[in-house]
């Protein structure tokens, strides 16, 4: 069974890794967007990461010291060796597209839909990329930092429904 350090080393040897870091025993591996699917496949097949815990995203707009706009977070877990690994992919406008991981882990389906819904990142070859939390008619992606905090859909002067017109 390979340790996390050995796994990271093996990934670095193949030249897929942009950067790695460790914080309180959790290891983070940054890969390029186009290398995400091969690296994820290798982690699943070769190193036994059989579970995708979470897919989420961070918007680094105006974040001190950040160079990229969006950072995707993939949280992987191996039920055999009880190891965890975090994959990071950084994306910039206008190229907000990355390969879907649904072919590897079914659990990616709804989580990628959520990221698409709230951040507007598109997943290539996703089987059903629709909004999941917000209504279909919603026109923007509200967890982006440039979404206005005020002034949308406030109650003032919206008509109240009476019994007669229900």
């Amino acid at each position: 069974m390979a340790t996390i350090a050995e796994i990271v080393e093996a990934l670095e040897e193949s030249g897929d890794v942009v950067a790695t870091s460790t914080f309180r025993g959790d290891t983070r591996v940054v890969v390029l967007p186009e290398r995400l699917a091969p690296v994820a496949r290798r982690l699943q097949v070769e190193f036994g990461f059989d579970m995708l815990i979470d897919v989420t995203c961070v918007d680094y707009l105006q974040y001190p010291g950040a160079r990229d706009r969006f950072g995707l977070v993939y949280s992987l877990f191996s039920t055999e060796s009880n190891q965890r690994l975090w994959l990071r992919v950084f994306l910039n406008e206008p190229d907000l597209e990355v390969d879907s991981l649904v072919p590897l882990w079914e659990s990616a389906n709804w989580m990628e839909r959520e990221v698409y819904d709230l951040f507007g990142i598109r997943f290539r070859r996703h089987p059903d990329l629709r909004r999941i939390l917000l209504p279909e008619a919603f026109t923007s992606h509200p967890l982006r930092k440039d979404y206005p905090l005020q002034g949308r859909g406030e109650r003032h002067h919206l008509p109240v429904i009476e019994r007669g017109e229900s």
């Binding site: 939390l133 979404y147 019994r163």
Partner: protein, 208 residues
């Protein structure tokens, strides 16, 4: 041995007759068995469950039979945050309920957006923008007693219901029509606003 407590039996002679009006009888029957629909949307639903359980016991007022289908329910207690995605579902459930139907908006979220009043992109700012509301129960969340009070206001409303009539019956003047009318319940706390008011805090100011 416990003696049976006489209620109406002990007070009337055995062969007596009670007269009432159809309207009063119908209203009495309706108000004493309001069946709410089982659904909760957020934290307020916890208080609603508590109001239905043994300690507060909504069944005392005849409203304990929570129905799992809108087709059997008279009362919709909208307990919790209504999101835009849920709003169309709430409206469809309301239309599935048979008449006469009543709606309680329970909690600040359903009264006017609640904690999401200013900053929530996903919350309907009051369920009365989606379905007609009969009684508003404020609070975040309201105590079960407050929900019971709201239920009793619904009962007041049903009790004062004027059932619509047309002039077909022999005892009724031909051609005359009485409109169906549902009054405001008594001691609602409803007061007219004393004219236009100045916004005092930032969140009351209307911008854009």
């Amino acid at each position: 041995m416990i003696q049976p407590q006489p209620w109406i039996e002990g007070r009337l002679p055995a062969d007596s007759v009670i007269t009432t009006t159809v309207e009063q009888a119908i209203n009495w029957a309706r108000q004493s068995s309001i069946w709410p629909m089982t659904f909760g949307l957020a934290c307020c639903a916890i208080e609603m469950m508590s109001a239905g359980a043994s300690r507060y016991d909504m069944d005392r007022f005849g409203a304990g039979a929570f129905r799992a289908t809108p087709r059997q329910a008279d009362l919709m207690i909208v307990a919790g945050t209504v999101t835009y995605k849920m709003a169309s579902r709430v409206r469809r459930l309301y239309h599935m309920m048979p008449d006469p139907k009543f709606v309680i908006a329970m909690g600040a979220c359903t009264v006017g957006g609640g904690p999401y009043f200013k900053w929530g992109y996903h919350v309907v700012k009051g369920v009365d923008l989606v379905v007609p509301v009969d009684v508003y129960v404020p609070g975040c969340p309201p105590r079960p007693e407050a929900l019971l009070e709201g239920l009793m206001r619904i009962q007041d409303k049903i009790k004062a219901h004027r059932i619509g009539k047309t002039g077909d019956a022999a005892w009724f003047k031909p051609g005359e029509k009485v409109e169906d009318r549902l009054p405001l319940p008594h001691h609602t706390g409803h007061v007219a606003a004393p004219g236009p008011q100045q916004a005092r805090t930032d969140h009351q100011k209307i911008k854009g």
